[in-house]
């Protein structure tokens, strides 16, 4: 029985190694008699390909198989995806909405929809954190985006 998880990961890292090896070749292995900018990526890329190959062989003839799924149930996948959406959205809206508002929205979203905290707890916690952190960072003269609302 093949170890699918190791099989997939070894193929992924092999592709990663191939990209850097080809990139290294393109950048040049030698320049004016000295090692060029592509020399090290080429060498390390080749080593990674070799190691991935060994790992691939081990995955085809495994001694043990990891049975557990990456996400044990739908709820864990849902939390994972919600967290990702929240984190990316924070970066996306930070400049336009400003630090305080984005922070409040992010914390409220995380507390209420991932942490399943009560509406009131989520509201109080996110508002107070946004206000306190804004005051603190302003006092520390940390440069944070103000956004269209000016705070």
């Amino acid at each position: 029985m093949k170890n699918t998880r190791d099989l997939v990961s070894s193929l992924f890292w092999m592709a990663f190694g191939v990209l850097f090896t080809i990139g290294g070749l393109r950048l040049g292995l030698v320049r004016m008699g000295i090692p060029g900018p592509g020399s090290m990526p080429f060498i390390v890329g080749l080593v990674l390909i070799g190691l991935s190959l060994i790992h691939l062989i081990q995955a085809v003839f495994p001694t043990s198989v990891l049975g557990e799924k990456i996400f044990a149930e739908w709820r864990t996948l849902k939390h994972f995806l919600l967290a990702l959406v929240g984190l990316i959205a924070y970066g996306f809206f930070l400049k336009n909405l400003g630090f305080s508002l984005t922070t409040f929205l992010f914390l409220f979203f995380a507390l209420r929809f991932i942490g399943r905290e009560k509406w009131t707890t989520a509201l109080i916690f996110s508002i107070s954190t946004a206000v306190v952190s804004n005051t603190l960072f302003t006092a520390l003269q940390v440069n944070l985006p103000k956004g269209i609302l000016g705070f």
Binding site: I34, L66, H79, A83, G115
Partner: protein, 494 residues
């Protein structure tokens, strides 16, 4: 006389009011980080790294190293009271610490762990002070080939001692090296693997990468358990001071743990985690009653807790004398110093003595502070333990987001962090360790420069690495380690 002068200098730096305050902050944050499961020292140091940019290098390293050794103290609290290690180096403390707590001896368990930690921490600083100057003097003989070979040996040891598959650890080291090549090549000025993204011109940012790998990914993993309730010991903790019998029983374990921990801490890949496991194994082996281990034997708490503190101190020796980080946390510390423009290596002691002696002095004082912070404030730490994870994780996310953004005032660093966060999550699920990757990411660019300099010196011949005696020793040792799994079936792992 020289040693005394150095010691006086170290205390003069450490007792400066700002440095003293930062040392206290580091110790306090470290304890907090140690107490809270799911937020290790690596993530916390990377969180505070951007804030440290406003400080001088001495102030920064005093604060950040305080978090590291402080977390070793705090980690035992959760192990003893909840049976959940606050950080990896306290895993083994759960075995006897929790059993002691269940038998109503949580106080002595916490007490002996703090006393052992203090003795071991102080011993480690003393040894750091004693060993570093001659080691740095010897390392001054190192040229680029020796540095490459030593880094190679360091990376090999890290992969050899990492938990799980050695092949996977080696793969991660390669990935870390490759990621380190992204950005403008310092020798030729050529752009490499930047995909025309301007934020990548300076390379993959260490802060967002580490925060993603250790902070975000850890929370993503913990979210799976976020709604489960933790069982915390409800009884009142009394008699924190161990009895005379407890102290007598533990004295030998503390001494052995301190010595073993320090020397294991020096080895790349060793550090506090390996130290605690080995110390526990040693105690069990030499004990006349090995069957009592795992059932609340106080030596099973004293020994690993001493070893992990001593190991944390030991890890500073190769960092401050050779410029080789032994583990991921120290690699982040090194990255922080590099961002501050400090050249970490054998010259540090002569060029920037205030950094080395500042750390030494602050560690002496920090260890004493930790004893005060940990024992009388135990009630507060227990209350913090009761904070729900569903309230805690949004704050960790928030600190990571702000930390990543303030590194370069660009949202791209947030995206880099998220990518590494997802990568770290998948890596852990697929059985890959992030530590070799981080180490390689930090020393990769320095190693590459030294490698190319070596080849320029030798006219392109790789033989330079084996014709120079010191370098040859490092290379052959590394090769021996790499080939050893083929000879021996079992290898020690963290």
């Amino acid at each position: 006389m020289e040693a005394l002068n150095h010691l006086l200098m170290s205390f003069k730096i450490a007792l400066d009011p700002i440095n003293l305050f930062l040392c206290f902050c580091g110790a306090l944050i470290g304890t907090l980080v140690g107490v809270l499961p799911g937020l290790g020292p690596a993530a916390s140091i990377s969180l505070l790294l951007p804030l440290s940019f406003a400080l001088t290098p001495v102030q920064a390293i005093i604060l950040l190293s305080g978090i590291y050794y402080g977390s070793m103290y705090g980690g035992s609290t959760t192990s003893i009271l909840v049976n959940i290690p606050g950080e990896a180096a306290s895993v083994v403390t759960c075995l006897d610490g929790y059993q002691m707590a269940r038998k109503g001896r949580a106080g002595p368990a916490l007490g002996i762990s703090a006393i052992g930690s203090f003795i071991a921490g102080t011993f480690a600083v003393f040894m750091l002070m004693l060993l570093s100057p001659p080691l740095a003097k010897f390392a001054l003989k190192f040229g680029p080939p020796e540095f490459v070979s030593l880094s190679f040996l360091g990376l090999t040891l890290v992969t050899y001692l990492s938990s799980g598959s050695m092949i996977k650890a080696l793969m991660m080291a390669c990935v870390g090296l490759l990621l380190g090549y992204i950005g403008v090549d310092v020798v030729t000025g050529v752009e490499r693997f930047t995909l025309r993204v301007s934020v990548l011109l300076d390379g993959v940012g260490l802060v967002p990468a580490v925060m993603g790998l250790f902070g975000i990914s850890e929370v993503l993993l913990n979210l799976e358990q976020a709604h489960k309730k933790r069982e915390i010991l409800q009884e009142k903790i009394e008699n924190l001071l161990p009895t005379r019998r407890d102290l007598k029983e533990s004295a030998g374990s503390i001494v052995r743990g301190s010595i073993l921990g320090f020397f294991l801490g020096i080895i790349p890949g060793g550090g506090a985690i390996l130290a605690s496991f080995m110390a526990y194994a040693l105690e069990k082996k030499i004990s006349p009653e090995p069957e009592t281990f795992g059932q609340g034997n106080i030596r099973g708490v004293a020994s690993p807790e001493s070893a992990n503190n001593s190991g944390a101190g030991g890890a500073f020796v190769p960092l401050l004398t050779l410029g080789i980080p032994c583990n991921a946390v120290v690699a982040i510390l090194m990255g922080g110093l590099l961002i501050h423009g400090v050249e970490v290596g054998p010259r540090l002691l002569t060029d920037r003595p205030e950094i080395f002696w500042g750390v030494v002095g602050s560690m002496y004082i920090g260890n004493a502070m930790l004893l005060v912070i940990n024992l009388p404030l135990i009630g507060i730490w227990v209350k913090i333990l009761k904070v729900r994870y569903t309230l805690l994780f949004p704050m960790i996310f928030f600190f990571c987001l702000i930390g990543a953004y303030t590194t370069g005032n660009t949202v791209y660093d947030i995206y880099v962090m998220v990518i590494f966060g997802v990568g770290g999550f998948l890596m852990k699920k697929y059985g890959y360790e992030p530590a070799p990757l981080v180490l390689a990411l930090v020393i990769g660019p320095i190693m590459e420069r030294a490698f190319r300099q070596s080849l320029i010196i030798s006219g392109g011949s790789l033989s330079i690495f084996i014709t120079k005696p010191i370098s040859a020793v490092f290379v052959f040792t590394a090769l021996l380690i790499l080939l050893s799994p083929l000879i021996f079936k079992k290898r020690p792992t963290v």
